[in-house]
Amino acid sequence: MSESGRAIDALKNIVYQCNRCAHCFDLSWLGDGYNKCPALRYGIFDSYSARGRFFIARAVVDGQIEYDADIAERIFACTECRACAEHCFKYITTTDIYEALKIDLAEQGLMPAALAAGLSDEGGLGEHHNVYQGSPEERLAWLPDMSRVDKPAETVFFVGCTSAYARQNMALDTYTLLDQAGVDFTVLSDEWCCGHPYLSAGQPDKAVAFMEHTLALVEKMGARRMVFNCPGCQRAFRDDYQKHTGKPGPVEALHVVELLAAYVKEGRIGMERYRPKVTVTYHDPCVLGRWMGIYEAPRDLLKAIPGVQLAEMARNRRDAYCCGAGGMIRYDFSDMANLAGADRIAEAEATGAEILVSACPACVMQLQQSRQKTRSKIKVMDLTELVASQMRPLRTID
């Protein structure tokens, strides 16, 4: 236990606010489909739901139960999708409670094994500074040339681990979009992970240290803005840095879809017609949507492409179902991630769309894997890929 005591005890007042109404279980009270919580769908016992986690938190606070591996499983088996908070009858920020529980569990050495190994200082994130254990040289291997690396610029394009190591096409698409849109931007040669995985693991101090490494480089470039294609990275710098340091984030943090949607609105960029016409559906990344409230910018971008018709899934925007990629659960709960992903693919298919679009490398990767596992025919792509194929500076459009 840290000198300041257990993190959950400091939130006793919030823990006691839960009135056990079960609105966090599903959307049934709105007359919608049953599932809202991927963890409850996977774990089936109430202990995997938000209500259950509050029962556990209260029992911990009241001294009825001690932290153990069973509790750790139920707290870490959470995609942090925030659907429970979105529909909480008492408007409780449930994720603050999960975060405190994770901090306590991590401190007691109860972090699930694969996650602990993945983030460790020996062979994991702590050593390699990325979650894929890739080398620093590989991080920018997707770059067409080095002309924009470490150059003083107004904007830093923060690539993120998944784009850099696992979905390089997304890195390149984002790079190309920024380039074509005329953005003055740079890429950091010594970019580290944003720190978001440490937050999911209950280690905010380590997350802050990683963020501060990056922010020092950003400052060195003289940049006033960071642009991301990953909502998790964006949230780290937009919201989490301030939350965990008490200091305002020193630069503006924007998702690339926010930037491009604004450019479309300003008439600075335009889109070519998509041929032949296509119907797409959009998966709201939990972090972009429920965590940061960015629902319309990606839709505005899609609507700006002639020939693209948007068909919404039954659960969209604040009600969107998680794809299963969040909370770093793939490390220890891959079955849960796959279950959520399969549910989401089925929901996307039900719209009749040919393409499932999202705006998050983790979501896209999860949904692509789920598509393969379920043998779905729907195509999965990131919005940056779709826009990169259609966007032109306005002057070049006929």
């Binding site: 599903d26 089936i44 029992a59 009241d62 139960i65």
Partner: protein, 481 residues
Amino acid sequence: MSSLTERLAAIVGPGYVSDKLADRICYTRDAGPSVGEVPGVVVRPQTTEHVSQIIRLANEVKMPIFVWGRATTFIGHGIRKGCILMALDLMNAIEKIDLVNQAVTVQTGAIWHAVDAELGKQGWELVVPGPGGLFVCSVGGTVAYNAVPHGLAEYGMTGDGVITLEVVLPDGSIVSTGSSANEVGGVAMERYANGPDLAGLFIGSCGVYGVITKVTYRIRLKPDAERFAFYSFGSAEQAANTAMALQRKHVATHLVGLYGGPKPTGVTGEAFLHIIIRDSTVNADARLAEAHTICSALGGIRLNEEATRLYWVGHMYSWLRNTPPDTYYGDRPYSCPEATAFLPSDKVKETIDFLRNYEVEHAEEFARHGIRIKCYDIYYSRNAAFIWIDTLYPELDSEAWKYGLKMRADYSEWLYSRFGSPGGIMAPLAQHIMPKLGAGFDLMKALKRQLDPNGILNPGVLMLGDEPDNGNGHNGSGNHE
């Protein structure tokens, strides 16, 4: 893993049983203030046959078994230490929508509003819009408790919509009621079909006589129109008299009176009526016109009915007080020791006077314990009034919790010693009503002994079975002690 856990796993499958403390501790308390103990094992049946086998096993090993639906009520029938906790929420299928017989058959754990939504796709709805409490309730649990629903003035009680039930008795046998009882061709179409109304034995019994595993419920085409009205009155008496006038004319589908607690935002007055009318467009307009005439004639001041509409369509009580839910419900670690009662409509003013006097007489204790009045609201039925006495105590303060329970006891005793009956019976209310039922209570006890000689099923609930439960947590082992 104990042998009991292993035997339960053999019935339902290993993934559907848990004796881990992290799981068990989540099944100790519903949304109310009464604290239960930690069950010994949680089991999740998926079929009626599972339920039957679990109950037979409980009889064999003489282990009490408590039934759990969604636990969204304030019933608070204390779970006992070490018992079998049978959670029915995985039995949630909508089995049949029968438009010919205007009925829907669902498993017990189906969620009320989800069933309604499924019916809505075909333009139909359950004949009762859902319970007056929280909204993610299961159908079986709502029927077993016989919750006071929305639409009470026109549609009646939850139990009124039941056609037939499938029930597992405390010995594990499975019975069907009404027209479904005929084993060689029964059709779920009529409740009063084959002799005594057996469904009535289980509706409102809170599971003491059997576990409801399937419900066939009446459905109807959705009405064309909904109309709303909202009125303020200069006194509780004026509002109560107006409500009785509206009752006599059968104007309202749902009629809510606000007699205490915070006043609606941005309006003046001492008491308020919300009126919801559902009917064909022509009839709804005519009924609304009549409601306006009655309310105006009796001194009501018409208010913006948008608050009424938002309450009705959004299922959020805060709108009764013209207040968005985020500011109304947010940031309050309070709990509610709710007391409820059906009253004669002409006793509303007397009851409100009692409650207000109680506030004055106990002002010092209220202040010391941080007690708030959330509401003295009334849902009017066709002919009577159902009062929700919702007070709030700070959940963090165990002394305030005890005081909250005392207040509930005081309210209940006052009401049930005069003209009140609780409707659905919460555990803490049972001790104040059951002993007053005389021969009726004796009959209930005799039935319990006959049906459940081992005292296995929900023992103590409704003060039936071996040890009565007073809803305050057995042996004081809850986390408020």
